[in-house]
């Protein structure tokens, strides 16, 4: 690699990191448009005759290339439907294929042009792109047919994959393929009037991968077996920031199937001929760790540090490392005075993503270009990070994205941690020999990159009608953006991922005086976005605080919110709340034994309102029916929107009821599902989903269903017990 390009790429990778972080967090940051071009340098990937997103087979089938990973969120169905709609394809003949890594062709404009999936942006950023791709290809087939049949293009129609003329002539895409491929694609094809959509927004938009996944045939990273492949496992430092001092692998070497030991930056790796051998050999390693730079505090001590900052007992530094205001207006001094109607503090623990498939990756290094196979959430970032290890252009790093057993944010991180780890090992092995790095559940759960621990304090005074007059809010948490590499300005000043959801809240808009500030002290535990990011805690704090205020004011929970939304001009909140309240029968009594709780929150461009029916069973909250209303703009795949509301609700409820990662003297206490309790079938509610009719372009659905159930349940518990729930998880073990 020549020197100047190396520098450009390094500079680019820093800007990219910013872009990824900022956009995953739901804000926008524009990055120079040349970036994807730079980052794709050396890529062998080229678009076909119908562009980068569509391929046609002579048998008439259509393949839509997805630039986004499918790790459960159902985006492949929606993405295919967008292209198929404009193409007027036969939906049964539409297939989805994962696009390779190439930022120039497959960048996400909501992620600064990087190829990546996050911030619930897959459908939103592909909406115009795939409609245009579909419409352009349609026009090419129409032109090919018109020329062949000697008729005017305007007289040629397409429906359900059949190109036809009123004279009775007709042909499938397959028959016209060779001719259509030669037609010059129109630059600005005419898009359909949304009122004439026949596929988008209908229950026909089903997943294309259910059959593979119901038969065990879907191929995940864990399932990759290649000739001569080695399996790797790594002994990691038990403390964040620990380094290898020395190791003894004499016992590991005796394990049948053991092949080699390597020291790598993240620990000590063994490679073996099978997963079981790798596990036994890794577990037999004796490693002495240098903890001099490691985080040695426990989570209780870290939380106390947060509390002392929030209470003012510890004075924070000034400037960029100090308190950062957000959403503040009016005379701050007033927010400290008067008589508080509600004055509370909330605590949230670290959370592991615990996707069902633990982190893993396959890499081949040392013969031709580096080649990776795994679930790549932000391929461009991984390319940049891996290129640094193997010394190549980022675009030359080939990535094949496989079916992926969940992520919830974990697979998108600044360091590409487990991917880079695998590349280090594959480089040591060399010769292009395939290496599959397998993290055990324990490695995954203790591997950090958690939802940060968070402490909020809120003090609200009210006007004569019981509505907020002043609102003082302090948030202390760890910055996710500080995980960006050194030299990046991303970690300085206000980290919006820490405050989004409180920042911009209609409740703060409706309050005359707001003094809201956030502080993000350094902690050595690695943290990351976790499905719905800041909303995981801000939705809870805002909604549970509002509920306490409504109760104090003696007003109905729904009426109280309506008044504030009206005052703030939050019409979409109002519509979602009204739909949920209506479908839940809010004004009628709840079924005997059940108590309703309501909550509303906007994230990733979508507003979700939920009414949950809750009761206490053996002292533990039990959630039954959950009525959900969502405004996600145009719902491309309504059944997948519902699936995301169901799954997101379970994910959020799991955290609210049971989720907690704790540390003792810097060591994570939980290693597996026995200690990190997650929601099970008997605890899972039945979610009904209703979609607010909308003419807007699509907004997110993967994350917005997660943060609302926690406060909805807490609000029902408040009605049952009269007590607020001020820390998560609700069920203490």
């Amino acid at each position: 690699m020549n020197k100047p390009l190396n520098d450009i790429v390094r500079a680019a990778s820093r800007r990219e990191v910013l872009a990824v972080g900022a956009t995953l967090a739901g804000s926008s940051l524009l990055v120079g448009c040349s970036l994807p071009t730079i980052l794709s340098a050396g890529s062998p990937v080229k678009p076909g005759a119908f562009g980068a997103f569509l391929k046609f087979d002579p048998d008439g089938s259509v393949t839509v290339l997805s630039k986004h990973i499918e790790f459960g969120q159902g985006n492949h169905a929606g993405l295919a439907a967008i292209a198929a709609e404009e193409l007027d394809a036969d939906w049964d003949k539409v297939k989805v294929e994962q696009a390779p890594a190439n930022a120039k062709l497959y960048g996400n404009y909501l992620m600064g042009g990087l190829q990546g999936t996050g911030g619930s942006s897959a459908i939103a950023n592909s909406w115009k792109q795939l409609r245009t791709a579909g419409a352009a290809a349609r026009a090419m087939f129409v032109q090919a047919a018109a020329t062949k049949w000697g008729v005017a293009a305007g007289e040629v129609t397409v429906a359900n994959g059949v190109v036809a003329h009123k004279s009775g002539k007709q042909a499938g895409f397959g028959e016209l393929l060779a001719d259509a491929a030669k037609v010059k694609p129109p630059q600005a094809p005419t898009l359909k009037d949304p009122n004439s959509f026949t596929l988008i927004g209908t229950p026909r938009v089903k997943r294309k991968d259910s059959g593979l996944k119901a038969t065990g045939k879907a191929r995940y990273t864990q399932d990759v077996h290649l000739p001569d492949m080695l399996t790797a496992m790594v002994a990691h430092s038990p403390r964040f920031g620990g380094k290898v001092k020395s190791f003894d692998d004499s016992a590991a070497r005796k394990v049948p199937g053991y092949v080699a030991t390597y020291q790598i930056p993240t620990g000590v790796a063994v490679v073996a001929t099978s997963t079981y051998a790798a596990r036994q050999a890794r577990d037999a390693l004796k490693v002495d760790w240098d903890d001099s730079k490691a985080e040695k505090r426990g989570s209780a001590e870290i939380l106390q540090v947060f509390k002392d900052y929030a209470s003012g007992k510890t004075v924070a530094p000034s400037g960029k490392d100090g308190w950062q205001p957000f959403s503040s207006h009016g005379d701050a001094a007033k927010a400290a005075g008067g008589t508080a109607a509600v004055e509370v503090a909330y605590d949230f623990p670290y959370l592991a993503h615990a996707s069902m498939e633990p982190m893993n990756c396959v890499a081949m290094v040392g013969k031709g270009p580096a080649r990776l196979m795994y679930g790549a959430q932000v391929p461009t970032l991984d390319q940049v990070n891996c290129a640094g290890v193997v010394g190549a252009l980022p675009g030359s790093v080939e990535i094949e994205t496989l079916a992926t057993g969940g992520s919830f944010g974990r697979r998108a991180n600044f360091q590409s941690d487990y991917v880079v780890e695998c590349v280090h090992i594959a480089k040591k092995v060399g010769g292009g020999r395939p290496v599959k790095l397998v993290w055990t559940r324990e490695d995954d759960m203790r591997g950090g990159h958690y939802r940060p621990m968070v402490h909020h304090t809120v003090r609200v005074t009210v006007d004569k009608d019981g509505y907020p007059a002043t609102w003082r809010h302090r948030i202390v948490t760890q910055s996710i953006m500080k995980g960006a590499p050194p030299g990046s300005p991303g970690g300085k000043g206000l980290d919006t991922t820490a405050v989004e959801g409180a920042m911009g809240s209609p409740y703060l808009k409706a309050t005359p005086v707001v003094d809201a500030q956030a502080l993000t002290p350094d902690v050595g535990v690695t943290v990351l976005w976790w499905r719905s990011v800041g909303a995981t805690h801000t939705a809870y704090v805002m909604e549970h605080t509002i509920e306490q205020l409504a109760r104090k004011a003696g007003k109905d929970s729904v009426e109280y919110r309506r008044a504030l939304y009206t005052k703030a001009g939050a019409n979409r909140h109002l519509a979602a709340l009204n739909l949920a309240a209506d479908k839940a029968g809010w004004t009628t009594p709840a079924p005997t034994g059940w108590t309703r709780g309501v909550a509303v929150h906007e994230s990733f461009g979508s507003v979700v309102a939920q009414v949950a029916e809750v009761k206490l069973e053996n002292g533990q909250p039990k959630v039954g029916r959950v009525v959900t209303a969502i405004d996600c703009g145009t719902a491309v795949a309504p059944d997948q929107v519902a699936a995301q509301m169901e799954g997101g609700t379970c994910y959020g409820l799991s955290a609210a009821l049971f989720g907690a990662i704790t540390l003792t003297k810097g060591v994570v206490d939980q290693a597996n599902f026995d200690a990190y309790r997650v929601l099970r079938n008997s605890e899972a509610p039945t979610v009904e989903t209703y979609i607010v009719p909308s003419t807007n372009k699509p907004s997110g659905v993967g994350e917005p269903g997660t943060p609302v159930i926690g406060p909805a349940v807490a609000n029902a518990l408040l009605a049952i017990t009269g007590q607020p729930t001020l820390s998560q998880p609700f069920v203490k073990t």
């Binding site: 997963t275 498939e357 309504p638 059944d639 026995d674 989903t689």
Partner: protein
Amino acid sequence: MATTVDVNGRSYNVSSPPDTPLLWVLRDELGLTGTKYGCGIAQCGACTVLADGNPIRSCQMPVSALGAAKITTIEGLGGATPLQQAWVKLDVPQCGYCQSGQIMSATALLAQNAKPDDAAITEAMDGNICRCGAYQRIRAAIKEAAGMPSVAVPSPALAAPAPKA
């Protein structure tokens, strides 16, 4: 030290050490990768297979301890059982990683109880974690496969007002 195992009606001589969990024999040696690793400690159910029709966690079953048990994995179901069809019809899978285990547990349930009620379903399925939270569709698909009326949840797609853009 060859061990013989009967998987999906076929007998295999396996060369993995006898203490190797059945899970890794299936996946690494026999190439039957439909059975998944999720926790390794019998907590998640991703590795569920049937031994003489009973659901077992293959991650905790040394291959030498199987004796003459006949093992059935997701590959052995054939692909079109009523449960598998219901799984596709209702689009149960999200990431899909847990679903082989879910279907094996459900298969054992329906073999023993053709018309399970809600309590029987959640009891039989509680050992199978789904981090994607496809639980209600799993319940509905079991009822669908058993030919029972499903829980009274309106199909979300149909209940949704038609989009206007």
